[in-house]
């Protein structure tokens, strides 16, 4: 008999989430979303212009190659698993 455990488990999560959502709704947390976008910048000092170094640009290319290789690998493997699995 294991249903009680899962119902309790999911129930607690759901109850907490709903209660918090209700609070957020009444507290105006979903209003003023434009201002919310700027919150991380609040204590930002004057912007410093940063020029990407030459090394930095090479790093971007290297990352791009890695990302493409990763995507290709994932696609290849998926096709392999679906056709041969």
């Amino acid at each position: 008999m294991y249903y009680p455990y899962f119902i309790t488990y999911m129930g607690i999560g759901l109850a907490i989430s709903l209660a918090v959502f209700y609070w957020a709704l009444n507290n105006g947390q979903f209003k003023d979303q434009q201002r919310a976008r700027f919150l991380p910048l609040a204590d930002e000092t004057a912007p410093i212009r940063i020029r990407a170094s030459r090394l930095g640009r090479y790093e971007i290319y290297a990352l791009f190659v890695l990302a493409v290789a990763g995507l290709a690998l994932s696609a290849g493997v998926l096709i392999f698993a679906l056709t041969r699995g």
């Binding site: 294991y2 455990y5 899962f6 309790t8 488990y9 999911m10 607690i12 999560g13 907490i16 989430s17 959502f21 957020a24 105006g28 947390q29 979903f30 003023d32 979303q33 434009q34 201002r35 919310a36 976008r37 700027f38 919150l39 991380p40 910048l41 609040a42 204590d43 930002e44 912007p47 940063i50 020029r51 990407a52 170094s53 930095g56 790093e59 971007i60 990352l63 890695l66 990302a67 290789a69 990763g70 995507l71 690998l73 994932s74 493997v77 998926l78 392999f80 698993a81 679906l82 041969r84 699995g85």
Partner: protein
């Protein structure tokens, strides 16, 4: 908040405590991983040393990576930025320090007991009851400290990072207690299939409701700041947050698709695993659009560079994860090194990278001193990145060899020689990651211990 507090410079002791905790345990955790990898190449290596046989090294490695390196790294950044985003101070640095100490005592006890063979034998829930309780208490303290900080805030709006951090602390506290069945101190388990289901609800929530939200919180803080641009859309971020909370909580059974659990649970798990595309893409689109046209700025800040790379890994691991939840795919990928590849992309490539990025981003700001060496941080970045990319490739190949062999009904011992070379490659890649951890520890310790300057 008292006036004295408002004027005295902030020391960020809790954030510093979790920072050094993460750096130290990363070195130990990756060493244990390396040791485990070497044991897979040479199983007789530690033959007569009971406390470091593979069966004990593995849970020590896994627990230290999760609770020693990644979680404290993310928490360090969170303890720094949550008060900043709320325009107040941390409710109690003393309580924070007590949390750091409790956390570290639990880790030391965890390593000692696991090495001694005291284990509850359930994956990610191996630790014995007293240590489980210490961790539950630590999560309780974290949540209490942060919610009290929220209560004393001067900024009425909760930025999405604050939402994520609070949810992670609260839900993990609850999940950890339930998943470790703390009301059964002796076994820490239910019986039979129900235990497997409960364990994997918990197990998946460690990634989904602890590492993922904390990592998202760090990324949502670091990327807009590094780019000096507002977040692309706060509404989208909240949509991502709430959909993650709703969907991620019941995908655990996708770990048990080949087990006789009720079909309805499997269906819920599979459907929700595919639906995870919603919170994942909500997060990624938001972060990537915020950084659009500003990759130069991201690369100029080593912390942001780590974080941004972590978001790319998140894309891979999540798309891969959704595919792996399909029974047809899992026929090949389950129970072999494919899953180990996925686990490393997720925990190290995504959450670990973001934890390191968070640390490097907040470290100079919380100490008021520049990072000891940008070069060493870059070196660590490349060591970890090459290590993790190599892991992904090598372990995926091994997984496919093993999965196909199994499907074809081949016996295990005939497959082992085939994968030996990959295990050697994997151990060598582990050396890179371990070296990266040592370099990181040195760099972070040197920064923390340098003569003090102005506090941020």
């Amino acid at each position: 908040m008292s006036n004295a507090m408002a004027t005295s410079p902030e020391k960020h002791l809790t954030a510093r405590g979790f920072c050094i905790t993460s750096a130290c345990w990363m070195a130990v955790a990756t060493f244990m991983g390396l040791l485990g990898a070497i044991e897979l190449v040479a199983p007789d290596l530690t033959e007569n040393l009971g406390w470091i046989v593979f069966g004990r090294v593995r849970p020590i490695h896994v627990n230290l990576v999760l609770f020693g390196f990644v979680t404290p790294g993310l928490l360090s950044a969170a303890y720094y930025f949550v008060p900043k985003l709320l325009r107040t101070r941390l409710y109690s640095e003393k309580l924070g320090l007590v949390t750091v100490i409790t956390w570290n005592l639990a880790l030391v006890a965890g390593v000692a007991t696991l090495a001694a063979g005291l284990s509850q034998g359930r994956e990610y829930a191996e630790l014995i009851w007293p240590i489980d309780m210490a961790i539950v208490i630590a999560f309780g303290l974290i949540f209490f400290n942060l919610i009290m900080t929220v209560k004393q805030r001067n900024e009425p709006l909760l930025y999405v990072s604050v939402w994520y951090v609070l949810a992670a602390a609260l839900l993990t506290g609850v999940t950890f207690a339930l998943g470790n069945v703390v009301w059964q101190p002796d076994s820490g388990a239910l019986v039979g299939i129900p235990d497997a289901i409960l364990l994997w609800f918990y197990g998946h929530n460690i990634f989904g409701l602890l590492l993922t939200p904390l990592s998202a919180a760090v990324a949502y803080y670091v990327i807009p700041r590094a780019c000096r641009a507002p977040l692309y859309s706060h509404t989208l971020s909240l949509l991502g947050f709430w959909s993650l909370i709703v969907i991620y909580t019941h995908v655990g059974t996708h770990h048990l698709l080949q087990v006789p659990v009720p079909t309805w649970l499997k269906v819920v798990a599979i459907v929700d695993s595919i639906a995870m595309v919603i919170p994942v893409m909500a997060f990624l689109i938001n972060i990537w659009y915020t950084a659009r046209g500003k990759l130069g700025e991201v690369h100029a800040d080593v912390g942001a560079k780590f974080v941004f790379t972590g978001t790319i890994m998140y894309f891979f691991v999540s798309i891969q994860g959704s595919m792996m939840a399909l029974p047809q795919v899992q026929r090949v990928t389950h129970f072999n090194n494919w899953v180990v590849a996925h686990a490393h992309i997720g925990v190290l490539g995504f959450a670990g990278m973001i934890a390191l990025g968070g640390l490097y981003y907040v470290l100079p700001r919380m100490t008021g001193k520049p990072l000891y060496s940008r070069f060493l941080a870059d070196l660590q970045y490349w060591l970890v990145l090459i290590g993790i990319s190599g892991f992904a490739i090598v372990l995926t190949i091994v997984g496919l060899i093993q999965g196909n062999a199994w499907l074809n009904g081949e016996t295990v011992y005939r497959v082992l020689p085939e994968i030996h070379i990959y295990y050697i490659t994997r151990a060598s890649l582990g050396v890179m990651i371990f070296c990266g951890a040592l370099i990181g520890l040195f760099n972070i310790a040197k920064t923390l211990l340098a003569p003090s300057g102005e506090n941020a």
